[in-house]
């Protein structure tokens, strides 16, 4: 390196405890944290600290110190509070003060979430503390509400939970699906953040659960033919909410998970009234039961499978809650 101005900038950037912006000779720029340098290169972590980048010094036209200097901030904070100690009840985990948000679509799912985590219900909301972490469960209906709920609650992690239909024929009622990714009808995919999913999978060890993709639809996939039409390699089940939740969380950099319990396996059909999206299915179910003995048998089977799914979901959420409460979440 012959340019003394650049040599001085490189040393300052190496010593700087904040992000810098490298201006390249070709007009492009790169933001990163410089953690090393040698005679010909700079080593950086990119702004999200997920990728290491090596940049030749010959490509660099200038360096701007654009990020906050963490060392300076730390000194200023210390000077401001000199002699004053932080209170004893200051949270000891990094993000423990922000809640974990569980989003469900229907009242039955909210009941399961509240039951599993010992939360206190009030209307469409249940709250409580478990494993040293605050939990909020909200019923936001089908298709919307996730974005507003995330903005309002500012959670440290979001879990989309509830019921689903099986697409993979291996699945039975009550089987749990931990999503590896969610896909909407247009083919858009949101991948589940790896670290949180790994922690969740560890927490679910010993239970019958599957890891795979969820297809998310805007209408109920009620028949085997409709479910088969959604099959893709790696796709295990179908629901109507997880994609919206995942998209909303990912857009604001909050880690998310989807945990679903199968009600209707691939080869079973849901009664036609389940396609209706109004709040209570009681009236339509009674009318359906009046249509004949076959309908009554269908309803008994559906009710049994729903109980099984609810029970698995509760057991799964108990484990999952403890596992992610102790996890330091990161985007």
């Amino acid at each position: 390196m012959t340019d003394p101005r650049l040599a001085e900038l490189v040393e300052r950037a190496f010593d700087y405890r904040g992000y810098v912006t490298l201006r390249r000779s070709d007009g492009s720029s790169l933001v990163g944290f410089v953690y090393d340098r040698d005679a010909g290169h700079l080593e950086l972590f990119d702004e999200s600290a997920t990728r290491r980048v090596r940049v030749a010094l010959s490509e660099i036209a200038g360096i701007d110190f654009t990020g906050e200097d963490s060392a300076l901030r730390s000194q200023q904070m210390w000077e401001r509070r000199k002699g004053r100690l932080e209170p004893r009840d200051t949270p000891t985990g990094w993000e423990e003060q922000r809640p974990i948000l569980l989003l469900v679509a229907i009242d039955r799912e909210l009941r399961s979430a509240a039951q599993a985590l010992g939360l206190t219900r009030r209307g469409n909301r249940a709250t409580g503390r478990r494993s040293g972490s605050d939990f909020v469960a909200l019923s936001v209906g089908i298709g919307g509400g996730a974005r507003a709920a995330i903005a309002a609650e500012q959670p440290r992690a979001v879990v989309s939970c509830g019921f689903c239909g099986g697409i993979d024929q291996v699945l039975s009622p009550g089987d749990l699906i931990l999503a590896t990714a969610v896909r909407d009808e247009s083919g858009q995919v949101v991948e589940t953040p790896e670290s949180l999913r790994t922690a969740a999978a560890r927490g679910l060890q010993g239970m019958r659960f599957f890891e795979g993709d969820l297809a998310c639809t805007s209408s109920v996939a009620a028949t085997p033919a409709e479910k088969r039409a959604l099959a893709r390699p790696g796709t295990l089940a179908v629901d109507m909410e997880s994609f919206t939740v995942a998209r909303a969380a990912a857009d604001v950099g909050i880690p998310w998970l989807a945990l679903r319990a199968v009600i209707d396996p691939l080869e079973s059909s849901l009664p036609a009234f389940t396609r209706e999206t109004h709040g209570s299915h009681l009236g339509p179910a009674l009318r359906y039961a009046a249509s004949g003995p076959r309908a009554i048998i269908d309803l008994i089977r559906l009710s049994r499978d729903a109980r099984r799914a609810a029970s698995s979901l509760e057991a799964g959420l108990q484990r999952l809650g403890a596992a992610i409460a102790s996890e330091e979440t990161r985007p």
């Binding site: 405890r17 904040g18 992000y19 944290f33 953690y35 090393d36 340098r37 040698d38 080593e43 972590f45 702004e47 999200s48 600290a49 990020g67 906050e68 963490s70 060392a71 901030r73 730390s74 000194q75 904070m77 210390w78 000077e79 509070r81 100690l85 932080e86 209170p87 004893r88 200051t90 949270p91 000891t92 985990g93 990094w94 040293g132 670290s195 922690a199 102790s326 996890e327 330091e328 990161r330 985007p331």
Partner: protein, 338 residues
């Protein structure tokens, strides 16, 4: 004497093996920093001043195990940041224990009780709890009310569950020798296995730059603190290192003795100075210009440093260099006199 016999035997075997091989430079303790984030902001700490995205990063279990295998040191000190904030800290400790490394998990203990269930007691695992002196001094040092009380409560909980517990104490300008002596009594009464003490290093990035000990003052403080040591005090350190702190012996730094691995790689040259990083342990040992470090080098950053990570390896090395120093070490261990 606060060092377990099994650990002493393992270190002795390891050192003799290195000497028989004619190995000039070898590590004794791997300083493993699996994360930088912490739940405290201590006055004298210069380890955690990074942007949030870097503070949120963790070394994986595999990276930690690979670093230990690569380095081969018989002892691993897991530092940070606060290691108990790492989501897989128990897995890291378990993997290292399975490899028969003596693991010292350095913690402020604020999360220790909550996390105890994830660990299993083992002769290879010790929680090294950060206690910077009596209640008032410790709380001031960690800038948190109740920090001392919480740490003591966690120590009791860990001991009652059969875990090995040691303490580590960093001393700064203004420490009162008499109060520190009473503190040693209190700590030993808790039932810990041993104590570790060291002067703080003057980190350039630490918030408080006014209270780091200079060499002469450090000698005076440690002499007064450790003169006529009580038989009940057990130090988890080489007695020759304690004599060095008291000014009774002089050593040159052994910067490669406690090599450091963290998110950036192998830190050059030591745990305290950050002159760059290399990808492999071998590069660290072979390509670092070691003549630039230590007091004799004239490096201004090394002149007042008396920290354990550079001088404890020097003390261990000295013990093996002559029958006289070996005898002195042994005598101090048996009699408790320094």
């Amino acid at each position: 004497m606060g060092i377990p016999v099994a650990q002493m035997a393992a270190v002795t075997r390891y050192v003799l093996k290195q000497r028989l091989r004619g190995q000039e430079r070898y590590p004794l303790v791997l300083m493993l920093e699996p994360l930088f984030r912490c739940n405290l902001s201590c006055t004298g700490c210069g380890k955690i001043q990074y942007p949030v995205s870097l503070l949120k990063k963790n070394l994986s279990v595999e990276e930690c195990v690979r670093a230990s295998d690569e380095c081969g040191a018989p002892v691993v000190s897991i530092a940070g940041g606060e290691p108990l904030l790492h989501p897989q800290i128990a897995d890291i400790a378990n993997e290292l224990v399975a490899r028969r490394r003596f693991v010292y998990l350095c913690t402020n203990a604020l999360l220790l009780e909550k996390k105890l269930d994830s660990f299993s007691p083992s002769k290879y695992l010790s929680f090294s709890v950060h206690l910077d002196g009596p209640r008032e001094e410790h709380d001031f040092s960690v800038c948190r009310e109740g920090g001392y009380e919480d740490a003591v409560k966690a120590i009791r909980a860990a001991l009652s569950r059969g875990f090995r517990v040691t303490t580590n104490t960093t001393l700064f300008e203004g420490a009162n020798p008499e109060r520190m002596r009473r503190f040693f009594d209190d700590v030993m009464e808790l039932g810990v296995e041993g104590m570790m003490i060291s002067p703080g290093y003057s980190y350039e990035k630490a918030p408080d730059q006014d209270h780091f000990l200079r060499r002469e003052r450090a000698h005076r403080l440690f002499s007064r603190m450790l003169e006529s040591p009580k038989r009940s005090w057990r130090f988890n350190q080489s007695p020759l290192f304690l004599q060095f702190l008291m000014g009774k012996r002089d050593f040159e730094c052994t910067p490669w003795g406690n090599p450091t691995y963290n998110l950036f790689g192998w830190q050059r040259p030591c745990y305290l100075l950050q002159d760059g990083y290399v990808k492999t342990f071998r590069e660290l040992m072979e390509d670092t210009d070691w003549s630039r470090y230590g007091r004799k080098s004239g490096n201004p950053r090394c002149q007042d440093c008396m920290v354990h990570c550079g001088f404890e390896p020097s003390a261990v090395r000295a013990a093996f260099e002559s029958p006289l120093t070996m005898g002195a070490t042994f005598a101090a261990m048996v009699t408790g006199r320094l």
